[in-house]
C-alpha cells in the first residue's frame, strides 16, 4: 500500500524525519502496527484518522513521551528513538496549549530559550520577533488566563517557533476553537509555515481541516496507515474503502462482475478495467448527474433535499433501499422530494475501491 502514492518532492534527499517499522503494544493490544513514514523537510503533513486510530500515540512516540515497542525513529538522519524528550529538537503545540499559568506570555515564550541557556539579550530579541510574527506584541506582560482562546493558541505556537525546532508537532491544536476562529487560525498557520519553512506534523480528526492545511495527508485507521498522499490524491484516488468513506462523501456499489458489468442489487453498472472480485465502484456525489429515470444507469426516488447555499444535497433511495447522495451545484432546478430520477456519470469519475 505505501509505495503507490509516496509523493516525495525532494526525492533523493534524505527525509527530515523517518519512522521505520515503529510498533506499539499496550499489554496484549497493539495500537500501532509496524509503521513506515517519511516526513520531508519543510512540509506540513497531517496525521488524520478517527479517534483510536493511533495518531496521537504516533505523535507521542515522535516527541519522545512514549517509547515504541519496536522500530526506530530518525530525525535528520540520526537515530533518536531513545533520546529523552527534553533533548530532542522537537516542538509540540498541545491540544489544550499547556501554557504555564504562572508565567506571563513573554516568560512562557522565553522558557525554551532559558532552558537552552541563551544570553538574555538574545532571548529578548527572539521573543520580540516571534511575538511580532503572531501579532501578540501588546500582550507580552499578560498572564495566559487573560487571553482569548485564539490568542492562547498563538502564544503556544510562538513558544514553539521561538527556538526553531527541526520539527513542530501539533496535536489537534484548533479543536477548542469555534468555527470562524478555527478557519482564520488555519490561514495563520499556513502563513507561518510558509514564512518559517518549518516542518510541521499536524494531528487532527477533522478531514476538512486536513484537506485545507496539508501538503500531504497520512490517513490512519486501526493502527495502520491507510493511505499517504496529497489532499487531491486522497480525495480523487482513494486507495481503499476506508479512504473513500472517511474523506468526503462517497457512494460505493458492490456486486459480481460479469461481461464488463457490475451486477449490483439495483441494476447493472459499467465496470472498469482491472476490477477483481470483491472490488467496489465509487462515485463522488458531485460527479452524479440526474436524468430521466429511463436513461440513467440506476433509478430511484428523491427522499430528502438539503440546501447548503453553494450546492444542494439530495438523498436518492434505490430499489433495494440503498441511499445515494447526489450533490447539485447551485443554479440548477432542485428535484422535488418524491420525484423519480435517473442517475448517470462519466466513466472517468469512477474509482475502484477494495
Amino acid at each position: 500500500m505505501p509505495s503507490q502514492s509516496q509523493f516525495s518532492p525532494q526525492a533523493g534527499i534524505s527525509p527530515k524525519l523517518s519512522v521505520r517499522g515503529i510498533r506499539k503494544d499496550y499489554g496484549a493490544t497493539t495500537v500501532l502496527h509496524a509503521l513506515d513514514l517519511n516526513v520531508h523537510s519543510g512540509e506540513l503533513l497531517t496525521l488524520l484518522g478517527p479517534s483510536g486510530s493511533g495518531k496521537t500515540t504516533l505523535l507521542q512516540i515522535i516527541c519522545g513521551l512514549v517509547e515504541p515497542t519496536s522500530g526506530r525513529l530518525f530525525i535528520d538522519g540520526r537515530d533518536e528513538t531513545s533520546l529523552p524528550v527534553n533533548q530532542r529538537d522537537i516542538g509540540v503545540v498541545f491540544q489544550n496549549y499547556a501554557l504555564f499559568p504562572h508565567l506571563t506570555v513573554k516568560e512562557n515564550i522565553a522558557f525554551p530559550l532559558q532552558m537552552r541557556r541563551l544570553p538574555a539579550t538574545e532571548i529578548d530579541k527572539r521573543v520580540a520577533e516571534v511575538l511580532d510574527m503572531v501579532n501578540l506584541g501588546h500582550t507580552a506582560d499578560r498572564l495566559p488566563k487573560a487571553l482569548s482562546g485564539g490568542q492562547q493558541q498563538r502564544v503556544a505556537l510562538a513558544r514553539c517557533l521561538v527556538y526553531r525546532p527541526s520539527v513542530i508537532l501539533m496535536d489537534e491544536p484548533l479543536g477548542a476553537l469555534d468555527r470562524k476562529l478555527r478557519e482564520s487560525m488555519q490561514i495563520e498557520i499556513k502563513r507561518i509555515h510558509r514564512e518559517t519553512g518549518a516542518t510541521i506534523i499536524f494531528v487532527t480528526h477533522d478531514q476538512e481541516e486536513a484537506l485545507a492545511l496539508s501538503d500531504r495527508i497520512c490517513l490512519m485507521n486501526d493502527g495502520v496507515i491507510a493511505q499517504v498522499g496529497t489532499p487531491q490524491e486522497i480525495y480523487e484516488a482513494p486507495a481503499n474503502r476506508f479512504s473513500a468513506e472517511f474523506i468526503g462523501l462517497s457512494n460505493i456499489f458492490d456486486g459480481d462482475i460479469a461481461d464488463g458489468m457490475l451486477r449490483s442489487a439495483d441494476g447493472n453498472i459499467p465496470a472498469v478495467a482491472g476490477m477483481q472480485a470483491g472490488d467496489g465502484l465509487m462515485v463522488r456525489p458531485e460527479h452524479i448527474a440526474l436524468t430521466d429515470p429511463a436513461q440513467g444507469f440506476l433509478s430511484g426516488t428523491v427522499t430528502e433535499t438539503v440546501y447548503a447555499g453553494a450546492d444542494t444535497r439530495l438523498l436518492v433511495a434505490l430499489e433495494s433501499g440503498k441511499s445515494i447522495i447526489v450533490r447539485q451545484a447551485a443554479g440548477f432546478p432542485i428535484a422535488p422530494i418524491g420525484s423519480s430520477v435517473g442517475l448517470t456519470w462519466q466513466s472517468s469519475a469512477i474509482r475502484i475501491v477494495r
Binding site: S51, G52, T56, T57, Q60, C63, G64, L65, V66, E67, P84, V85, N86, Q87, R88, I90, G91, V92, F94, Q95, N96, A98, F100, P101, H102, F111, P112, M115, R116, R159, Y163, D171, E172, G175, H205
Partner: protein
C-alpha cells in the same frame, strides 16, 4: 481524542506510590500498632491470659452503660441538629453568586478553624448565672438569675454549634455540584418550588448530607469538651470516662475495651455509609450507583410526603400578606445562624479588655490588666511558646510526609492508591480520643510521655489527613501536560519541577502547612494525654484554668488564640490558589 499518557521511558518503573512509604510507615507505627496493642490488651485479664472480664465489667456496671448511652444519644442528637441547621446554610451558600459566596465563606471557615475549647468556653460565660443571657432575662423582669448551663439541652446545643461549620462545609461541595438548571427544568415541567426541591435537589444532595452526618457523628463520639464544661454529671460521656480511667487509674484494659467499641461503631457507621453511597462521596465525588431496595422505597415515600407538606404549607403562607415572596426567610435564617457562629467568639474581645476582676458583659471599664497578667505569668507565656514550637514542628513533619505521599498517590496508577488514601484518612476517621489513648499507651512504653517531642509526634499524626487532602486535591487538579510541555521545550526533570511544578503548587503547600499549624496549635486531646500534666500547651493550660476557675485572664488568652488563628487562617486562605 486519546489522553496523553505520562512518559513511559523505562520499562520497569517504580510506581510513584512508593513516595507514600514514609507516611504509611509513620501511620502504622504511631496509630495502627498501638491501637492494635490496646485492643489486644482489652481481651486479657491482669494475669495476661485471654478473657472477656473487661467487657463483662464494662457492660455489667450500670455507670459505664449509662455513659455509653449518654455518648451515643448525645452524638445522635448533635448530628441531627447539625444536619437540620447546616443543610439550609449550605443550600443558601450554594445558591449564591460565586463572588459573594467567596466572601461569605470566610465567615463560615473562620469559626470552623476556631478551637472547640474557645467556642464552648464562650457559651460557658454567656450562659452562666451572671452571664449576658441571664442578665437580659432578669432585666426584662423574667425571674431572678437563671442558670442555663448544666443540662442535656445546652450540651447538644453547644456541641452542634461546635460542629455546625464542619457539617455545612461537608455538604457544600455536593450541593455545588448539583446543576441548578435541573430545578429550573423541573419547574418548566410543572413542578412547584417545593416539589422541585424535594424531588430533584434533595435526593441529589443526599450523599453530601450523609457524609456530613457521618463526620459529625464520628467526631461527636469522642468529644468530651462540651459535656465536661457545660454538662452535669448526668451528661458524662466516654471521653471523660477515658480521661479518668487512663490518667488517674491507668486502667489499660478498660481503655482498650472502650477504644475497641468506639472503633467498631465507627467502622460500622463507615461501612453502612459505604454501602449506601460509596466512601468516595465524602470527598464530594459522585458515585454512579443507583440504590434500590428498602431504603430507596422509604426514601421515595418520604420525599413525596415532604413535597406534599411543603405544597400545603406554601398554599397557607400564600394567603399571609408579605409572605408571598419567601426568599428572605432563608436569608434571615442563615444570617441568624452565621451570627450565632461568630458572636460567641467575638464576645471575648470586649471582655478581655475589661477592668473588673471577673468576666462580665458588657465590661464596666477598659484596661489591659488581664493581658499584663497573662504576659507576666510564666505558665501562660511558656505554654504559648511551647504551642508555637510544637505547631511548627508538627506542621513541617506533616507537610513533608503528607506532601510527598499526596504526590505519589496522585501520580500512581496502582489500585493500592485507594488503600493508601484511606490509610492517610484514618486519623480523621478514628475518634481523636482513641488516638490520644493509643499514643499514650505507646509513649508510656518508650518514655515519650510528658515530652514536647511526644506531643509534636502526636500532632503530626492527626495533622496528616488535613495536610494530605489539601495537597492531594492540588495534585489531582494539576495539569500534568504542563510538565510534558516543559520537557518538550527542553527542560530537564529537575528544571521542570523547579520552574513549572513547584511555582504552581507552592501556594497550596504553604496553605497545607499553615492549616497543619492551626490544627496543632488548637489541639487539646493529645496534649491532655501525652503532655502528662507537665508539658502544658496553650489549649491545655486553658482547659486546666477553665476547670479550676473562670478568670478574665482566660479571656485575654482567648483573644490571643483568636488573633493567632485569624492571622494564620487568613494567610493560609490567601496562599491557597483558587
Amino acid at each position: 481524542m486519546a489522553e496523553w499518557q505520562s512518559p513511559s521511558r523505562r520499562r520497569f518503573k517504580l510506581d510513584p506510590l512508593w513516595l507514600a512509604g514514609p507516611g504509611i510507615f509513620y501511620l502504622v507505627l504511631l496509630l495502627i500498632v498501638p491501637a492494635a496493642g490496646l485492643m489486644f490488651l482489652s481481651f486479657r485479664d491482669s494475669s495476661g491470659s485471654l478473657s472477656f472480664e473487661t467487657y463483662r465489667q464494662m457492660f455489667g456496671a450500670g455507670i459505664y452503660v449509662q455513659v455509653l448511652i449518654n455518648t451515643f444519644s448525645i452524638a445522635m442528637q448533635t448530628t441531627i441538629a447539625c444536619l437540620l441547621v447546616g443543610y439550609p446554610l449550605a443550600y443558601w451558600l450554594a445558591k449564591m453568586p460565586e463572588k459573594r459566596r467567596r466572601l461569605v465563606m470566610w465567615l463560615v471557615l473562620l469559626p470552623f478553624w476556631m478551637s472547640a475549647l474557645l467556642k464552648n468556653f464562650a457559651w460557658m460565660v454567656l450562659l452562666s448565672r451572671r452571664g449576658v443571657l441571664s442578665q437580659i432575662l432578669t432585666g426584662m423582669g423574667i425571674g431572678g438569675p437563671v442558670d442555663l448551663l448544666y443540662g442535656r439541652g445546652v450540651v447538644v446545643f453547644a456541641m452542634a454549634h461546635t460542629m455546625l461549620p464542619l457539617a455545612a462545609l461537608t455538604m457544600l461541595p455536593t450541593l455545588l455540584s448539583i446543576d441548578l438548571g435541573l430545578a429550573r427544568a423541573a419547574k418548566t415541567l410543572g413542578a412547584s418550588g417545593g416539589q422541585a426541591f424535594w424531588r430533584i435537589v434533595f435526593p441529589l444532595s443526599m450523599p453530601g448530607v450523609a457524609a456530613a452526618g457521618l463526620l459529625v457523628f464520628i467526631s461527636s463520639l469522642g468529644f468530651f469538651i462540651t459535656p465536661a464544661l457545660l454538662g452535669s454529671p448526668r451528661e458524662t460521656v466516654i471521653g471523660q470516662l477515658l480521661i479518668t480511667q487512663v490518667q488517674q487509674l491507668l486502667n489499660w484494659q478498660l481503655a482498650g475495651a472502650i477504644a475497641v467499641m468506639l472503633l467498631v461503631v465507627t467502622l460500622a457507621v463507615c461501612l453502612v455509609y459505604d454501602r449506601a453511597f460509596g466512601i468516595s462521596a465524602v470527598s464530594g465525588e459522585r458515585s454512579d450507583r443507583r440504590s434500590t431496595g428498602l431504603f430507596a422505597r422509604i426514601g421515595t415515600v418520604v420525599i413525596a410526603s415532604a413535597a406534599r407538606v411543603t405544597d400545603i404549607l406554601a398554599g397557607v403562607l400564600d394567603v399571609v400578606p408579605g409572605l408571598r415572596r419567601r426568599g428572605w426567610l432563608l436569608d434571615a435564617f442563615c444570617v441568624l445562624v452565621m451570627a450565632m457562629l461568630l458572636v460567641p467568639v467575638l464576645i471575648f474581645l470586649p471582655m478581655a479588655f475589661g477592668s473588673s476582676s471577673f468576666l462580665e458583659f458588657p465590661p464596666r471599664g477598659y484596661s489591659l490588666r488581664w493581658f499584663e497578667t497573662y504576659w507576666n505569668s510564666s505558665n501562660w507565656t511558656g505554654a504559648t511558646m511551647r504551642s508555637f514550637g510544637i505547631a511548627i514542628v508538627s506542621a513541617l513533619l506533616a507537610s513533608a510526609m503528607g506532601g510527598i505521599a499526596a504526590f505519589g498517590v496522585a501520580r500512581s496508577k496502582s489500585r493500592i492508591g485507594n488503600v493508601a488514601f484511606l490509610l492517610f484518612m484514618l486519623p480523621m476517621i478514628i475518634p481523636n480520643i482513641v488516638i490520644a489513648v493509643a499514643l499514650f499507651y505507646l509513649f508510656a512504653q518508650i518514655g515519650l510521655i510528658a515530652t514536647d517531642a511526644g506531643i509534636a509526634l502526636g500532632h503530626t499524626l492527626t495533622a496528616l489527613p488535613v495536610v494530605f487532602v489539601i495537597i492531594l486535591t492540588t495534585f489531582k487538579n494539576y495539569d500534568w501536560r504542563l510538565d510534558q510541555a516543559a520537557a518538550t521545550l527542553g527542560a530537564t526533570r529537575m528544571g521542570t519541577v523547579r520552574k513549572v511544578t513547584w511555582p504552581i503548587v507552592k501556594g497550596s503547600v504553604v496553605a497545607a502547612f499553615l492549616f497543619g499549624f492551626l490544627h496543632s496549635f488548637e489541639e487539646l486531646t493529645i496534649a491532655l494525654f501525652v503532655g502528662g500534666g507537665v508539658r502544658q500547651t496553650l489549649p491545655k493550660q486553658m482547659w486546666d484554668d477553665v476547670l479550676l476557675q473562670v478568670s478574665p485572664t482566660l479571656a485575654a488568652a482567648s483573644v490571643i488564640i483568636l488573633a493567632v488563628v485569624t492571622v494564620v487562617f487568613v494567610a493560609a486562605e490567601r496562599a491557597r490558589p483558587r
